[in-house]
Amino acid sequence: MRRSLALLALCLPAASALAQEEGAPPVEVEVVGGQNSQLTVAVPAMPGQALGRGISEVIASDLRATGAFTPIGPGGIGTYGQAQAAAPAYGEWRSAGAGALVSGYVEPRADGRLTVACYLHDVTAGRMLANQGFTVAQGDWRRAAHKCADLVYSRLTGQGAFLDTRIVYVAESGPRTNRLKRIAIMDSDGSNHRYLTAGRATVTMPRFSPRGDRLVYTGMLARKPRVFVLDIASGRERLLVPGGQITFAPRFSPDGRRIVFSWARSGNTDIYVVNAEGGNPVRLTSAPGVDTSPSFSPDGSRIVFESDRGGTQQLYVMNADGSGQRRISFGGGRYASPVWSPRGDLIAFTRIAGSFNIGVMSPSGGSARILTNGWQDEGPSWAPNGQFVMFNRIARGGGSTLFAVPISGGPARRMPTPQDGSDPSWSPLQS
């Protein structure tokens, strides 16, 4: 009791002072500061397995490819033990000049798979920003690295992930007079490259389904372009519209249940939509001229397409049932191959005005910007986060290569392909 009273007596003055201070407003301080440089991200080799270093190399390469960071490592910088993955020595990494640190470790599981732990640290603040673990088959260790890089990219930029994705394109080889064109698929960094078609027929315009498990593409059959649907895992393919019809420029709807495409019949080319599993196509346009390159808005309510109904190739938007068709491109030159952004806020296109260039505009046609300055850049395809557009660039002397350009501005980055490539399509994010 005596002790309680004494304690109370001691506490009263302190409580009184605190109450006084609590009632006073805080000192208001404003500080403005920062720089427009790239964040330096340290990616030291992960401990635990021989794969650790390889995973870190892929992460560093992915982060460099985003154009948003300056990664350092895994070579030339220190390493750490597994226990330090979650609690690194921030001071040491600060001294190394890093603003952020990607750490982790690789652990084998009893079922033969791997667990890859990924940690992102703010070295400046000395705190962990994010962490996640990925369990993958041994052969899929690169995917764990891509997912870790996606975690870093998303947390530091606020943008959606896009690195754990795949790319299909038309791989071209052989002489110009006898060009071999095959559909190839690869990871977004060019690894795991393989061919999906044998090259017996010329193929163009492969497009992923929203789940990334199927493709639609245009292949030549009996010297006529025809739309095919290809199951990637099994390799099975089928004609979208049976018979000898001339069909081309297909693309899936956002829910994957329909496919919109061009059909040339009776001297006119119009846009049709059909159930992805087959059925009777429904005609959406009927204007004289060529209506082609249809692309759904991400909510599936509208379709953008190109048409020469007005005399030159221009971009038009209509409702998904074909109603409300109106032109949206009014700049100089011609406009072609429109693709609606996954975010819904922009439409990418090819502008033909002397040279061919990739640009973006709002769905209403405003705020058009040209993103590239090549001689012949065409065939845009959006990254799933809507921040990059991939396209193929044809050089004056021949040869076609794939590039990706950020819509925020900046140089286009060449995508690694083992041979010439065209008509790229970026897959959705892999699950």
Binding site: M1, A24, E28, T157, G158
Partner: protein
């Protein structure tokens, strides 16, 4: 809670003793000459600010440290010069009342607690209480000075942050920091408010919060803040709202 007889007796005795002591002190205080009340204060608003307590000083203070100009590195204040006049206080003492002239010099700052403490205070002419250092006043001028100094302390760390993208500079993040007298953080800062977020830059909100946190964490502990302004009745640098934004 059970008390035994001895505890009841002790508690009762303590209460009786305290009542007696308070009564004796009250009678003694009533019989001695009252210490003059502090003169009433006159408050004026000033535009210029200086890093110094504006409370009346019982002695001639050294000149205040001159704060460096904005953007300069923080340098040690020049050595005090005795001949330099003290800065004009923002709170000026009013003219003394005729019959209650304030002592020109306060009592020396020594403890008067002695062997005769329990005998009560005699009716001497000495002040009835031991002298205490004058309390610092956290007026507008002092507050602005502290804010300016703190801003200079964190500016180098703010300058190191990397802009995550276009539009992020419209976001303002305010953190409330509680500091210890040593300048270290007394607790986990909390986000007080975030403004300037719109559809175009919403994706950067979390990152700008990260950057605001990084600003104080990198620069802590905060050295050189005036200790007398750590905590006063009007506030102090123990409690700071730090607003950060990218340029």
């Amino acid at each position: 809670m059970n008390f035994d007889r001895a505890e009841w007796t002790g508690t009762g005795a303590a209460i009786v003793f305290h009542v007696a002591l308070i009564a004796a002190l009250s009678m003694s205080l009533a019989s001695v000459n009252r210490a003059p009340e502090p003169p009433s204060m006159e408050v004026e608003l000033v535009d210029e600010v200086g890093l110094q307590s504006a409370a009346p000083q019982p002695y001639i203070p050294p000149p205040p440290s001159q704060a460096p100009e904005m953007g300069e590195a923080i340098e040690p204040a020049p050595a005090p010069r005795v001949e330099a006049p003290p800065p004009t206080p923002s709170i000026k003492p009013a003219p003394p009342r005729p019959q209650r002239s304030a002592p020109r010099k306060p009592a020396p700052r020594v403890s008067r607690l002695g062997d005769d403490f329990l005998e009560g205070i005699t009716g001497s002419d000495a002040p009835s209480r031991p002298a205490r250092p004058a309390a610092a006043t956290f007026d507008a001028r002092a507050k602005a000075s502290v804010a300016a100094l703190f801003q200079r302390l964190v500016q180098p760390c703010a300058d190191q942050q990397v802009n995550p993208g276009p539009g992020a500079n419209r976001i303002r993040v305010t953190l409330n920091l509680r500091l210890r007298p040593s300048g270290t953080l007394a607790g986990t800062p909390r986000i007080v408010r975030v403004s300037g977020v719109d559809d175009d830059n919403a994706r950067f909100e979390e990152r700008v919060k990260d950057l605001a946190i990084a600003v104080y964490r990198e620069c802590a502990p905060f050295r050189g803040l005036p200790p007398e302004l750590y905590r006063t009745a009007e506030g102090g640098w123990s409690n700071i709202n730090l607003t950060y934004k990218l340029p």
